[in-house]
């Protein structure tokens, strides 16, 4: 019998197919190199040894066996010890996690958190559901912050002016003497540089500092100011995202970046859910005007590209249109006359505003924080005219001295941040440090790993080690001002000081931070009792403590004018955005963030210069058409060029006002034509082991990942800068990019439609390829999801499906099976409609499941270990022959982890039975059985299995290949610090073992055990819905993920799966995935220019509904299509 080769269904000639989605330009162009790469089981290089020669390999192997022989000397395992507490601490039960309420300190807003600790060792960050606006969600930065606590490169001691070690007591003495000295002359010449903070206690200390030392200067500086508009206006503008149904974002990435991202996403998502025609009618609509591609832009229904330098003027134009359409003609004309130099599609503005006005009271314009204050005033006028749901809050924020004031410092105190690295080019902080007589630096990284600390040490200053927020007392306020604690849950790992401890001597107070926080609490809380304080710490939020709403504010026409510079090929603009990997550079040494791919570019470990397709073509780096495709014609794709399976980018030089930087060019469809996107936070000169290149470090050099953008930043132009020239450099570099790793080869896995389509046919997602392929459930199609899950029906298959849920498998139950309640069956539903691609789930998964960080060189080999692959698909349905790279694609995100197929292809090929089904529908991985054949990864159609090619947990990056001869991470080695973060409930995997999403089996087991242990001698053993949340679900700000028992029709997941938008990916393979998706909806305004084409897959969707020309349009659309006989009939 010959081997049967499965052919994925392909469309017949003349038959419209599903939309063509693509994850990279190579995939879109179907380049031969992409094909060969996609067809490989692993990325080229992933399964080959490249750095070690054969002889060397044999030598190492010999040595390994020798050492293994030594290890066999004793037959029994080594003697181990149990060390109980000498005195049992209160509320601590070994083996049970304790959760502490705290918050993630932000510069604009704190994120309320619950921190999971295992015997007082913080291991995982969760959102605090007591704060309803956040729920259980948290951002990826908050998730990753627990790893920073165990940063092996963090400052572990303080050093004095002569480099001598300072004990904690000596550090405090030093600060006291310094403040006494300053007190003598009223603080003249004393300058503080700190990061902004939301802490009322710190604000109190700063106030007393100012009265204690009236001559001292207090500077708050951050390179990515989130409160710029707030400072200029004097109050905080907080749109009520949950109330509004029409949003217009003007260069505001409220879903993607900033401290308010979780609250905004959660509220926005709640306005986006639609499972019926009525709900689709009520669905929110998002208009975005922006220059670079942001998360918010990717979520937009209608997106307008415009340079950032034009958007302030555009804001005035939109505001004028709103005024005009709400009957304020004279004001509108006055405002419009101030605007000059803007080129924009008038129809876009008009129709967009018409929609906003039509939803008066439920529409809001969100202005980017970096827009001019005049633009903000214009937007407020418009919002007033729209009766927009916006709260104006008295946040009490105060303008501080500018950073340029450091020049006058005699005594300079630098608190946190890293101003030597991230200060604008026009302020020379390094020079100020040199010229000051005394410098004190309080920082998280010492002189070896931080530019500012290094400069301070070189200038003979004092470098004090900072505590992590999980080690210190403080407080803060959330986006709306709710008062939240920052409480320690572990003794400081090293002798370090908190910011409050450093500040208090200068403020003339002697209390400990705990007492200071208590005092602040007394000032803010109505109930000042100890019980109230304890309740606040336990709950994590103080009720009714939000900022007061302002009623009287300035509401007049802005006085200034709005002139937009004209951008061109020779006058480009650069837009600076904080990197998703390192923020503004503060998180640069965090491995989880460094390795989690950028949602839109899918790059990691470095930054790139984003360039629009139009500009890329104009650069004429080319022209060497490499791909000739019937749809696209000859295409120059030399910029994002693939060579030997690696992304190779041309290097370019950016020059503006005398400053020059160099970096790789990355074509980004959807970028404004003359905007270059630059991510801050890379190219560190003095930094830790994650922020710098391993290969360079082993060669004795320090080279930061990526390139430094700060030389282009100026105080007045911190968000964008025009007048930029771009020139090519005659070289190319490899860029670390995951976009084509684990490709699904363009198969029809993404489904989307417009809300209009959905209202007509709520079942649109069920069609498509499932209609073409043999029906998977055949005659059993109409069983309920519960029956399908429990019985594994055979359908029309000739083979009998093994029943995985043979419960109960206990001798006594034989013959009495019916008396036993059916086991719960776990399943997941992911709503693509609310998912914004923010990556919080990816980091949460990594944190929960002990997923190792592999490093840049390993990612380049295709060995990344992330269990959730957040796929980003581009699509442009306007493609026609001869068309170039699309400039206005639409974007869809799809998180793919193990689908837990009921008939899993991986299980049948495992020779060791290491991956098998359990009786509750989980596709389990028994690591101790796995022998690393990798057959399962080869046979997985979803490409979600990850293999430990090397011992990522045992050895340090750069030493993976040396085996037992390389430096091991010793328990005393600081490199081993991150091991303290490991979740004790999950095995740490070793080399040669396959792994993948387990549906957080440890949490499932914990929930079951908890339920059974409390059931005792009763039969109440079913885990109630909601008692169990998996890590990605818990972290998701959009609440896009539901998980639970699919046999319970009342569970949230069963309801989600019952949605008419639900579909499974590649179900025609009869994999029967337990994870299903809910199709994305785009809420279109059909009056908008070009909307008739949107979503760009609309045409294909229509073809799909009618099965195209070959099958005629006479078919009724609906359920009938998914039914078995129908689907089969088509294939005869």
């Amino acid at each position: 019998m010959s081997k049967k080769v499965f052919e994925h269904p392909v469309a017949q000639p003349g038959e419209p197919t599903g939309p063509q989605y693509w994850r990279s330009l190579e995939e879109r162009n179907k380049s031969p190199e992409f094909r060969t790469r996609a067809e490989r089981e692993f990325v080229d290089g992933a399964s080959q040894i490249t750095t070690v020669e054969r002889r060397e390999f044999l030598m190492l192997m010999g040595a390994s066996f020798g050492l293994a022989g030594l290890g066999l000397a004793g037959c029994r395992e080594p003697r181990t010890h149990t060390l109980p507490y000498a005195k049992q601490p209160e509320n601590t039960i070994p083996g049970i996690a304790t959760f502490y309420a705290s918050s993630f300190p932000g510069e604009f807003a704190n994120q309320p958190l619950l921190v999971e600790t295992h015997q007082h060792r913080p291991t995982k960050i969760e959102g605090n559901p007591s704060h309803h606006a956040n729920g259980t969600a948290s951002s990826k930065f908050a998730q990753a912050s627990v790893l920073d606590l165990y940063d092996p490169d963090r400052a572990q001691a303080s050093y004095g002016a002569n480099g001598e070690l300072l004990s904690l007591a000596a550090s405090r003495d030093f600060l006291r003497s310094l403040s006494a000295e300053a007190k003598a002359n009223g603080g003249a010449g004393l300058v503080f540089v700190a990061r902004p903070s939301t802490s009322p206690t710190r604000a109190r200390l700063v106030a007393s500092l100012k009265s204690n030392l009236p001559q001292a200067t207090w500077i708050e500086y951050t390179p990515v100011a989130q409160n710029q508009a707030e400072l200029a206006l004097g109050y905080r503008v907080l749109p009520e995202y949950a109330v509004a149904r029409r949003f217009l974002s003007l260069d505001a990435d409220f879903l993607g970046s900033g401290d308010g991202m979780v609250e905004a996403t959660r509220a926005y998502a709640s306005a986006r859910r639609a499972d019926s025609a009525e709900q689709a009618e009520q669905m929110a609509r998002l208009y975005v005007v922006e220059s670079t591609f942001s998360i918010t832009g990717a979520a937009a229904d209608h997106r307008l590209r415009a340079g950032s330098s034009q958007i302030s003027a555009l804001a005035a134009l939109f505001a004028a249109e709103v005024l005009a359409q709400t009957g304020k003609g004279s004001e509108a004309a006055a405002l419009r006359s101030k605007v000059s130099g803007v080129k924009v599609d008038e129809a876009w503005v008009k129709e967009c505003v018409a929609d906003l006005v039509a939803h008066k009271g439920k529409s809001v314009i969100v202005a980017g924080n970096h827009l001019s204050v005049e633009a903000h005033r214009a937007v407020q006028l418009a919002n007033d005219a729209l009766a927009a749901p916006v709260k104006y809050l008295a946040s009490g924020v105060k303008v501080t001295a500018a950073l340029s004031a450091v020049k006058s410092a005699k005594t300079l105190v630098i608190l946190g941040g890293n101003p030597v690295y991230d200060a604008p080019a026009d302020v020379n902080v390094a020079e100020a440090i040199k010229s000051a007589a005394k410098v004190v630096r309080w920082g998280y990284h010492g002189a070896a790993f931080d530019e500012t600390s290094a400069a301070v040490k070189a200038a003979g200053g004092v470098v004090l080690a900072a505590s992590h927020y999980l080690e210190s007392w403080s407080d803060g306020r959330t986006l709306d001002g709710t008062y939240v604690p920052v409480q320690p849950m572990i003794e400081p790992l090293f002798p370090t000081l908190s910011e409050l401890e450093v500040l208090s001597p200068f403020a003339g107070v002697t209390q400990e931070p705990y007492a200071l926080v208590r005092e602040t609490f007394n000032g803010l809380s109505a109930n000042k009792s100890d019980e109230a304080f304890a309740a606040w710490l336990a709950e994590g939020v103080l009720a009714k403590s939000s900022y007061a709403v302002i009623t009287d504010r300035l509401s007049t026409l802005p006085s200034g004018s709005f002139a937009a510079p004209e951008l061109s090929e020779t006058n480009l603009e650069v837009r600076f955005v904080p990197s998703i990997h390192s923020g503004d550079g503060l998180y640069a040494n965090n491995g989880w963030l460094a390795e989690s791919p950028d949602p839109l570019t899918r790059t990691c470990w470095e930054n790139v210069i984003l360039i629009s397709p139009k500009m890329a073509k104009r650069l004429e780096i080319e022209p060497e058409p490499m791909v000739i495709n019937e749809y696209i014609g000859a295409l120059n794709r030399n910029i994002n060029q693939i060579s030997a399976g690696k992304l190779l980018c041309r290097v370019a030089k950016i020059t503006v006002g005398g400053a020059t930087i160099e970096g790789p060019l990355f074509i980004m469809p959807g970028l404004a034509d003359y905007t270059l996107g630059l991510q801050l936070g890379f190219g560190r000169r003095v930094a830790g082991r994650v922020a710098t290149r391993v290969d360079e470090r082993l060669a004795g050099r320090i080279t930061g990942n990526g390139f430094n953008v700060y030389p282009l930043v100026e105080t007045a132009q911190a968000a964008f800068r025009a007048g930029v020239k771009l020139t090519l450099v005659a070289k190319s570099v490899q860029v670390c990019n995951m976009q084509d790793h684990w490709s699904m080869e363009g198969r029809d896995v993404v489904r989307e439609g417009s809300a209009e389509d959905f209202k007509k046919n709520t079942n649109f997602a069920k069609l498509g390829i499932d209609g073409h392929a043999p029906a998977v459930y055949g005659k059993d199609e109409n069983l309920s999801p519960a029956e399908k899950a429990i019985t594994t029906p055979r359908g029309n298959s000739a083979y009998e499906h093994p029943d995985h849920s043979v419960a109960p498998n206990v001798a006594v139950w034989k013959g009495h099976e019916a008396e036993f309640p059916k086991l719960q069956q776990w399943g997941m539903s992911i709503d693509l409609n609310t998912c914004t691609g923010c990556n919080a789930c990816v980091t949460a998964c990594q944190s929960e499941n002990n997923i190792p960080v592999v490093g840049r060189d390993q990612v380049l080999k295709g060995r990344n270990m992330l269990w959730i692959r957040m796929d980003r698909y581009f699509f442009d349905g306007r493609e026609k022959p001869g068309m170039e790279i699309p400039t206005d694609p639409q974007v869809t995100f799809m998180g793919v982890a193990c689908q837990h197929c009921e008939t899993a292809p991986c299980e049948t090929v495992c020779p060791a039975n290491a991956t098998v089904h359990d009786d509750q529908g989980l596709n389990t991985m028994a690591y101790n059985r796995c022998i690393g054949t990798r057959y399962c990864a080869n046979n997985c159609p979803y490409k979600v299995r990850r293999f430990n090619f090397l011992d990522y947990n045992k050895h340090e990056a750069g030493h993976y290949y040396e085996g037992p001869l390389g430096p091991a991470k010793l328990p005393k080695d600081p490199a081993d610090l991150p091991q303290l973060q490991k979740n004790p409930d999950v095995s740490v995997r070793m080399r040669g073992v396959m792994e993948k999403c387990t549906y957080c089996v440890q949490r499932i087991q914990e929930a079951k055990i908890h339920q059974k242990a409390h059931a005792r001698n009763s039969a109440d053993i079913r885990v109630p819905d909601g008692a169990l949340k998996v890590a990605c679900q818990q972290a998701c700000p959009a609440e896009a993920i539901e998980f639970g028992d699919i046999t319970d029709p009342h569970s949230r997941v069963a309801k989600a799966k019952a949605s008419s938008r639900t579909y499974g990916a590649l179900t025609y393979l009869n994999t029967r995935p337990r994870t299903t998706y809910q199709a994305k909806l785009r809420n279109l305004n059909l009056r908008m220019p070009g909307a008739i084409l949107l979503p760009l897959s609309r045409k294909e969707m229509e073809g799909r509904e009618g099965h195209g020309a070959t099958h005629g349009a006479g078919h009724e659309v609906g359920n009938e299509h998914a039914s078995a006989p129908h689907g089969e009939a088509h294939h005869q």
Binding site: P84, A86, I93, G95, D918, V988, T998, R1016, N1017
Partner: protein, 233 residues
């Protein structure tokens, strides 16, 4: 076979250096190797297991705590297991008691006994006592005490008669088949919840245990996990 023997015993040709009998050597070597192989495999199978390597492992402890004196109804003091291992019903780990648990009583009695010097020092300095671990499961096994003791499985099933041991040693093999035996036939071990820590408990007649266990399995809906995910994560 006959032909083979004939071939092996065929007369040696004149002038051969080796004797005639050498022709049988290859077969003898193969047979010997086979026997050796079988014996080695069987031996490893039998002896390189927990049953032989770990059962009876009785390490000396830093403090010679005598369970048979303190614990169980037949002992001198008659303490319940949960007096010291107090989190066993709540947590996956059954905790080794902290030093101050010892000091609850020993601050009153035998306070200055040299046998208790380490405990005394621990209480005074806060330094932990380094007890030697006896029952050790591999790192990839996640055993949970609370779910067992709350659902009718006694300590004695895995630990044996600790209440009769002066020095604690491992009495059961604790390998995977040991676990699965019970998970497949829980009716053989389930007992009333008030008898969990009564290590000497037995039903009146041995066959009563099956009857009682079967009733508990039915009433409590007992279905111990047998999938990998039950214990391996």
């Amino acid at each position: 076979m006959r032909k083979l023997l004939e071939f092996l015993n065929r007369p040696a040709s004149r002038g051969n250096f080796f004797s005639h009998s050498i022709n049988a050597a290859p077969l003898q070597i193969i047979v010997c190797l086979l026997i050796t192989g079988v014996v080695v495999v069987a031996a490893i199978n039998e002896y390189a297991t927990n049953k032989y390597l770990n059962v009876g492992y009785t390490p000396d402890q830093p403090v010679a705590f005598d369970h048979s004196f303190h614990a169980g109804p037949d002992s001198v003091l008659g303490l319940d297991c949960r007096y010291c291992h107090n989190f066993v019903e709540k947590s996956g780990h059954s905790n080794v008691p902290s030093s101050n648990t010892c000091w609850n009583c020993h601050s009153q009695i035998k306070t200055d006994s040299p046998a208790l010097a380490l405990i005394k020092r621990s209480v005074e300095t806060g330094e932990a006592v380094r007890w030697v671990k006896v029952h050790k499961l591999p790192d990839f096994v996640y055993f949970n005490h609370s779910v067992h003791v709350n659902r009718g499985v006694s300590c004695v099933e895995c630990h044996g008669r600790i209440d009769q041991q002066a020095v604690v040693g491992q009495q059961k093999s604790l390998n995977m088949s040991f676990c699965l035996d019970c998970h497949r036939n829980p009716e053989l071990v389930l007992r009333p919840l008030d008898k969990i820590t009564d290590l000497s408990y037995k039903t009146a007649k041995p066959e009563d245990q099956v009857e009682q266990g079967t009733k508990f399995v039915h009433d409590w809906k007992v279905n111990p996990p047998q999938s990998c995910s039950g214990c391996h994560r």
